[in-house]
């Protein structure tokens, strides 16, 4: 559940370096398509954003050499990966594992914020709306990724679960029943 102080896993620096030169445009495109799928299956997520459904968010995994700019675009989201600061009304920064843990309901956003594992800048209200909307949607990114993988679905899910186990990074939705 909420991580003990200083124990949020960092993305391995060697792998992060690999992203420095990687072309981001193809990745942006596939993330956009991926997020459109999520939008179709979780329309309440974008409804819940309310007045912020056209607000650009910068998600900054601080252990990776790029930022993710998310434009909810009223339910037809666009995702752009870029180097540098990115441009948006609100920025949410923290280790990738913290951001993923937030999405999966493994961590509590306020607790991460109080411990400064997560930093919010700009329009705090918009950031809160995004946090609350995502929390309600009970997303499972692994499930979202593997749903189109046909026969590979089972093995892939096992693979994610195993990585989750060894890395301590939340890659699937946390089941509240197992929390304690």
């Amino acid at each position: 559940m909420s991580p003990p102080p200083g124990q949020i896993p960092q993305f391995p620096a060697v792998l992060a370096t690999a992203f420095r030169a990687a072309p981001l445009a193809p990745l942006s495109l596939s993330l956009t398509m991926f997020s459109r799928g999520i939008a179709r299956r979780h329309p309440a997520l974008f409804r819940r954003l309310g007045e912020y459904s056209h607000t650009r968010f910068v998600l900054d995994p601080t252990d990776l050499p790029f930022v993710i700019v998310l434009d909810p675009n009223g339910g037809a989201p666009r995702v752009t990966l870029m180097r540098g600061q990115g441009d948006g009304a609100a920025r949410i920064a923290g280790p990738l594992a913290a951001l993923l843990g937030l999405v999966h309901g493994a961590f509590d956003g306020d607790a991460l914020f109080f411990s400064r594992d997560l930093v919010v800048e700009g329009d705090t209200s918009a950031a809160l709306a995004l946090r609350n909307a995502i929390d309600d949607s009970e997303l499972d990114l692994s499930e979202e990724i593997t749903r189109y993988c046909g026969p590979m679905k089972g093995p892939l899910q096992k693979f994610f679960t195993r990585i989750e186990h060894y890395s301590g990074v939340s890659l699937t939705r946390a089941e509240e029943g197992l929390a304690w």
Binding site: P4, Y52, G105, F107, D110, F113, F114, D135, D136, E176
Partner: protein
């Protein structure tokens, strides 16, 4: 009787998490100004409320709908509609604070159970009995300004059920009697259902020193590795005379877990957890912890050790006004 755990839900997912984790009762509100946690991305539309209540009822849990802001002049219909819709959604009770709205609910929805919100700040037995006699209020949520002996004295003089906060954010001011937020931002708990609203918060990180401002007023300044409290006005760092510090309250949150046996002896019916703005992860953890505590108490077992420190604001805890030295 096992003490009733009353748990917050800001979203349908939180409601389900709370019920699954063992909450006896959930409280929540509609997604508008009628409830005192009118935060972006939170709360229930009518169909979500209907489904949420059905989900809870199917698992033996109750749902209370908080309609606990003070209706705006000229727009009372919005609040009246919320009461009517809570009833038609199947709510077990509504939590109200406004005199006019209590009167309306008592006259037009006599079959709908009425609880008095903490926002009404009824802080002694005369006030509780007044609300019970006048509006048929069955339960009062006590303001967070009372000590355990004072709560016991109140319960000795009233038949109204009492509910007290045991965990989460802590108002240091009498609730429903505070305009600090509207003075600094124009948005208030009483009128808008928000306190120190995120829309007026700015953080400035300069060289590791983090300033938290609300409406342009600097509320906190913390160094690199210190916890980062949200700039809630009454928990800010200010100076007066020759003193600088947290003049009103430290950035702490309430945890009265270890006082549960005393609260039961004081005649308290229900224990309330604050935090409709918190995540489903938080809700599930806190509920599980408190449910274990009241079950242990009921079985005559010792209270389990607390496990909730890291979820708290600024990561420091207080038992608040329950211990008299707080004052």
């Amino acid at each position: 009787m096992v003490m009733e755990i009353v748990c917050p839900a800001g979203t349908p997912a939180s409601l389900r998490a709370a019920v699954t984790a063992g909450a006896h009762t959930i409280y929540c509100g509609f997604a508008d100004e009628t409830n005192a946690r009118n935060f972006p991305g939170l709360n229930f539309d009518r169909s979500e409320m209907h489904e949420g209540i059905a989900f809870a009822h199917a698992r033996g849990a109750k749902v209370l709908v908080a309609i606990n802001t003070f209706p705006r002049a000229g727009d009372e219909a919005l609040w009246h509609r919320a009461v009517a819709d809570a009833e038609s959604c199947g709510a077990d009770a509504v939590i109200l604070a406004d005199l006019g709205l209590l009167d309306h609910a008592a006259r037009h929805h006599p079959g709908l159970r009425r609880h008095l919100s903490v926002q009404a700040a009824a802080s002694n037995a005369d006030a509780l009995n007044f609300y019970a006699d006048t509006f048929g209020v069955k339960r009062v949520v006590l303001p967070r300004v009372l000590s355990v002996p004072e709560i016991a004295a109140i319960n000795a003089e009233t038949d109204v059920e009492t509910e007290v906060f045991v965990y989460g954010g802590l108002c240091v001011m009498a609730e429903g009697r505070c305009s600090l937020s509207s003075y600094a931002t124009g948005r208030s708990p009483n009128m808008n259902g928000v306190c120190s609203p995120a829309s007026h918060v700015e953080y400035h990180d300069e060289g590791g020193v983090l300033d938290a401002r609300l409406g342009g007023y600097t509320i906190h300044r913390v160094g690199k590795d210190q916890p980062a409290p949200y700039p809630t006005l009454c928990k800010g760092c200010f100076s007066a005379g020759d003193k600088t510090g947290h003049l009103f309250e430290d950035p702490v949150s309430l945890n009265a877990e270890q006082l549960i046996p005393q609260l039961q002896k004081a005649g308290v019916t229900a224990l309330k957890i604050e935090g409709r703005q918190r995540s489903r992860s938080y809700v599930a953890q806190v509920v599980r912890n408190f449910r274990a505590a009241v079950d242990a108490l009921d079985a005559g077992l010792p209270m389990p050790e607390g496990m909730l420190a890291r979820l708290s604001e600024g990561q420091a805890m207080t038992t608040g006004a329950y211990k008299k030295t707080w004052r």
